[in-house]
Amino acid sequence: MARTDHDERRDQHPGPPATPSRRTGRGRVAAAIAVFGELLITAGIILALFVVYSLWWTNVLADREAKKQGDQVRRHWARQGPGKLDTKSGIGFLHVPSMHNGEVLVKKGTRTETLNDGVAGYYTKPVKSAMPWAEKGNFSLAAHRDGHGAKFHDIDKVHEGDPVVFETRDTWYVYKVYATLPETSKYNVDVLDAVPKESGRKRPGRYITLSTCTPVYTSRHRYIVWGELERTEKVDARRTPPKELR
């Protein structure tokens, strides 16, 4: 491109031009500007590709991985008789009908590498999550809002009174949402407490906490949804889902 400019300019000025040194100097400046412009265009394209990567490609990879791991857990359940629960590959599946995202595998821990597989993780720190089958406590989960499966993308569609169902090998745990916190500090670890006071509950009980980032496409704040266990149902031979999921 630079050379064309340069050539045209030369064509426009026939006859004795300015000193040769000045002409090449101007050509060099034009060439440098052209390269700079192309670098800027390249940077723009790379940033656009990064957006495509974050919001689309990571979902493709994570959904594929989550499906694989989920199938593995289900096969494991089908094969294995009653016995010790295998927490490594996943403890069960979360169903939130108002998020319209099907089932979400729940695994131990909230490390980035775990959550990037398109699963939800239960907290091991800073506040250790209770298990759903524990007598008392708060079952606290985190998952991605965007990218990497975006399992909690529609967390803002979850309202008070909506059911949240957690499925293990033997039991359906049916929770009911009783409070949401649309925006809180990312350092607000109190939301994970065994009795999450901010939700309005004062007594020990069997709670569930969903956490993800907000607003969408950023990590500035955290979005919290609290539920309380309503009842449990035994899983039957055909794994008939509870009426909330039908």
């Binding site: 590709l49 980035t112 350092y187």
Partner: protein, 58 residues
């Protein structure tokens, strides 16, 4: 820059267009496979957990 690359590719215009396409696809592959996965955790777009700041898990 791109003009320079184009002029240095071998073959006629079709051949050059084909090589350019392959080069572009190769660059996109390298970006998606290696560069973006490396860059993503360094950018503050995808932290979803509550924690105690720098000391906590990210």
């Amino acid at each position: 820059m791109y003009g320079w690359i184009w002029r240095h590719l071998p073959g006629n215009a079709w051949m050059r267009a084909l090589i350019s396409l392959v080069l572009v696809l190769a660059i996109v592959f390298v970006l998606f496979q290696y560069v973006f996965p490396w860059a993503e955790p360094l950018l503050p777009f995808n932290d979803v957990t509550v924690d105690q700041g720098m000391g906590g898990p990210r």
